[in-house]
Amino acid sequence: MKTVPVSTTINGDAAEFICAPDETLLDVLRNRMGLTGAKEGCGTGDCGACSVTLDGRLVCSCLVLGVEAEGAEIATIEGLATGDGLHPLQQAFIDHAALQCGICTPGILVAAKALLDKNPDPSETELRYWLAGNLCRCTGYDKIIRAVQAAARQMRSA
């Protein structure tokens, strides 16, 4: 299969890659760009471990083709912290023990940020439904919800 050149922005930096027409954005990020923060838990859009944003919209990168990223701005977990400062969500996840194994954490952080960008004060129900596409098998979600709420509070008061 012939490969296709693609120009994008990833975490604010211009990025170019070539990929096969049937290659997923997740595979491109992980295998061609060395960005292994997004994880593949299912490859079928069911687990959210591969969550990234594409022009600000939350997507499962396992369901997006690399070629669809042409001209788009992609944000991944690797871009969440700035310099040596963690994003409030990242700090809250550590402070509230919102991860056990941590495999779901990159996807959940990206998804939570996408929610708080739109809705800085979600109710617990809104939060639980927003994160319903991100599976976590370790925590039972409780501490994840508390951590996102704490980060949201902090971001609102910042």
């Binding site: 994880k39 593949e40 069911d46 023990a97 941590g102 495999i103 991100n134 979600y141």
Partner: protein
């Protein structure tokens, strides 16, 4: 091993909610999991799997696959070694079938190629001729004399003759005279239950990267609960010497027991050996469901007698478990755990394991216990309903306590069940009002907990910091807990300790992270290693001061003179001693190697409120509280996390999760869309209440906490559903269609 006579109860570091050392890596995407590693010249592996549940492999023709451009190696079961013990041979034959395929998805052959796409294309070119055989996936059918035989000649000597050849194991536990007990009861209830096989459901699929050189030395990177277990299995299966294989455990994206064995690792090694290049294999989610280990499926009869006052007079249970296509001993643990929460004069349990055409069972959190305790706790609850007794009072009245002869034989030491029940009774949840259509359920849970083989080393760095090397993959924050225990024992701040997890060439053997053993056994070992280092530091200081080593004691991170003739030297801190170490005899390190025992059993009680939608049959969990004895919670956040996470896995088991097979034994739901694990919007907050009844077998009183919490939810929810909807379901999961059917039957 000698136990400290009195567990320590006064702590500076232990019990604090410290930040975990791997936290930053895991929130920034830097942490490297199984699939995140690559190597120069790496090939991608892919595995061909059986489309049949049971078939003889007549022939495998790989010619066309080998000829495909980019294909570098093809292997089958014939590439593995022949001689090994029976248990390892089963693991081998599960990794690549020999002679017969035993379940839908059983691996048959594997390819390594320049890309994943080429490897998958090559799989289509492998021609396998099968002779399809009749199959069986239901445990009760598999035990019938006319059932298709999955494997012949696998029964152990305790199995009575004349049963189906699928029956591989039998066990019996208990004491007293149940018949006399039933005769003394005011009410006896006898019920049968079934539970579906469920999968551990870790979000990270199995993944590994193997590299073997022409000299036969190999490196293996993989996601596992135990790198030494991987080395032992892989070196036997490949016919290698253990010293030639170095296994490094990646960060692990969940295991829950499912990553205590090998599936793809020997295959990747065999491909690398053949191709002479590194080979990476990453399972798809479908492969994880089809070919890695779910828990057992079960069919259980329970009979319990009770007096009007609520005293249990006798209990019996017969458990029929299937651990899939290979012999499986899990039923013995279920049969021992079934009645563990009760102080009984007469109790008897019988266990049977039968082979079926299902994937080989792998351990899943408290293996065998949730099914058995679900059945027992359901019958206890029904007795309480029929006799109009408070289910919590009945548990308290019959609770096992210190001195109780347990249902599996030994007499209990100090245990926390009664305190846990009292905590549940005193909690506002137990008295909170319920609306119409809602119901409250409760259940006890139990797990044995293990210690096991452990080897750790602890180095005193010259700048006064401390490094710990241990060998158990960290699934839920154990590195933090281990650093805390070392800091506590040494009397230094937590921040000065760093714990890393070693590969198999850096330490002696460590058992897999299982049985809730790590905080207990590795913690115990690290405390002993710290004591070893302290003894060495005190000896150095004694020589500096020119006094007897016995005249030096260790207090708050420093050596001090003690006793009448020691003199009045100012204390020397760990950092001061460390800085002088090259002059006083060289580097200072502590070690501990042992097979730890005394883990101390664990009990929990769960309370749950549910509401059943009579239109759809859907059960909504409204409120959930977990009460559990942790002995001593080293890092309470992670203890709570274990309790919450285990509870939610149990909720999934109770309400939705199941392996569904068609009549030919094909797995119909190998994906998260149809195998539905709980999501955030399904759940209420999970409140976790930690009790601390010190374990006499640990210097700090620690008990394992990881497994018990998956046990109670099954019955707690069944009991709540029964009280909410007036129907008692005896089959798990209580999925909406099943509940609806029961409601319809009720009219």
């Amino acid at each position: 091993m000698a136990f400290d006579t009195e567990p320590k109860r006064d702590f500076k570091v232990v019990g604090r909610r410290v930040a975990r050392p791997d936290g930053i890596d895991k929130v920034t995407g830097r942490a490297l999991y199984g699939a995140d590693m690559s190597a120069p010249g790496m090939l991608m592996g892919a595995i061909l799997r059986s489309p049949h549940a049971h078939a003889e492999i007549v022939s495998i023709d790989v010619t066309a696959a080998v000829a495909l451009d980019g294909v570098k190696a093809v292997v089958t079961g014939a590439d593995f070694a022949d001689a090994m013990d029976a248990a390892t041979a089963d693991v081998r034959d599960n990794c690549l079938a020999r002679g017969k395929v035993l379940y839908d998805g059983h691996a048959v052959a594997a390819v390594a190629a320049a890309s994943g796409a080429i490897a998958r294309a090559a799989l289509d070119l492998i021609k396998v001729e099968y002779r399809v055989l009749p199959s069986v996936t239901d445990v009760d059918l598999a035990m019938r004399a006319d059932a298709p035989v999955v494997q012949a000649g696998r029964a152990v000597e305790v199995v009575p003759v004349g049963l189906s050849e699928n029956v591989t194991d039998h066990c019996e536990f208990g004491h007293g005279d149940p018949e006399a007990g039933f005769a003394a009861a005011d009410l006896v209830i006898d019920r049968s239950f079934t539970t579906a096989a469920t999968h551990q459901g870790y979000i990270e699929p199995h993944a590994c990267l193997a590299s073997m050189g022409p000299d036969g030395k190999a490196d293996l990177w993989c996601t596992t609960q135990g790198q030494w277990a991987v080395r032992t299995a892989c070196s036997a299966i490949l016919g290698m010497r253990a010293s030639q294989l170095r296994v490094t455990a990646s960060e692990i994206g969940g295991g829950f027991g499912g990553k205590t064995t090998v599936f793809i690792e020997p295959v990747a090694l065999a491909l690398s050996r053949k191709a002479g290049r590194p080979v990476k294999i990453v399972m798809s989610r479908t492969e994880v469901f089809r070919a890695t280990g779910p828990t057992v499926a079960s069919s259980i009869d329970v009979k319990i007698g009770m007096t009007k006052e609520g005293r249990i007079t006798a209990g019996t249970a017969t458990l029929r478990y299937t651990g899939g296509a290979f012999p499986c001993g899990t039923v013995a643990m279920g049969a021992q755990a079934a009645f563990a929460a009760y102080d009984l004069a007469a109790v008897r349990t019988f266990g049977w394991n039968a082979l079926t055409n299902r994937p080989k069972e792998a351990a899943y959190r408290a293996p065998g216990a949730p099914q058995a305790i679900y059945a027992v706790e359901s019958v206890v609850d029904e007795l309480c309903q029929k006799l109009a007794l408070d289910p919590l009072e009945v548990r308290l009245l019959n609770a096992a306590r210190e001195g109780t002869r347990s249902s599996y034989g030994p007499t209990f030491e100090a245990i926390g069940l009664e305190a846990t029940l009292e905590a549940a009774k005193a909690h506002p949840h137990y008295a909170a009002p319920l609306a119409a259509g809602q119901g409250r359920g409760l259940s006890c849970g139990f797990w044995f907990n293990f210690g096991g083989n452990t080897s750790v080393s602890l180095t005193i760095n010259t700048d006064g910091t401390v490094g710990i090397t241990e060998g158990n993959p960290d699934i839920g924050g154990s590195r933090a807990a281990i650093s805390q225990m070392a800091a506590e024992e040494l009397g230094i701040p937590y921040e000065q300790v760093r714990t890393v997890i070693a590969d198999t060439s850096s330490l002696g053997h460590n058992d897999v992270t299982d049985g809730s053993r790590v905080t207990f056994a590795v913690g115990l070992a690290v405390i002993k290693a710290a004591r070893d280092a302290i003894a060495k530091m005190c000896a150095r200081v004694a020589r500096i001061w020119g006094i007897d080593p016995e005249a030096v004691e260790w207090v708050d991170g420093a050596a001090r003179p003690t006793g009448p003739n020691a003199g009045t030297f100012p204390p020397m801190t760990l950092a001061e001693i460390a800085a002088l170490s090259f002059k006083t005899g060289g580097p200072i390190a502590g070690h501990h190697e042992s097979n730890a025992d005394g883990a101390g059993v664990s009990f929990g009680v769960h309370l749950v409120d549910v509401e059943v939608d009579r239109e759809t049959g859907a059960t909504k969990v409204l409120r959930y509280t977990v009460f559990q004895d942790a002995g001593k919670a080293v890092q309470p956040d992670y203890v709570e996390g274990q309790m919450q996470g285990g509870a939610v896995q149990g909720i999934g088991w109770a309400l939705n999760e199941e392996y569904i097979h068609d009549a030919e034994g094909h797995l119909l739901n190998p994906g998260f869309l149809d195998y539905r694990v709980p999501v955030a919007s399904d759940l209420p907050p999970i409140e976790a209440v930690i009790l601390e009844i010190p374990n006499p077998g640990h210097p700090y009183g620690v008990r394992g906490v990881g497994e018990t919490p998956i046990v109670p939810p099954l019955a707690a929810i069944a009991n709540a559903v029964s009280r909410a909807a007036g129907v008692r379901l005896t089959a798990l999961p209580m999925s909406p269609p099943r509940v609806l059917k029961a409601l319809t039957a009720q009219g």
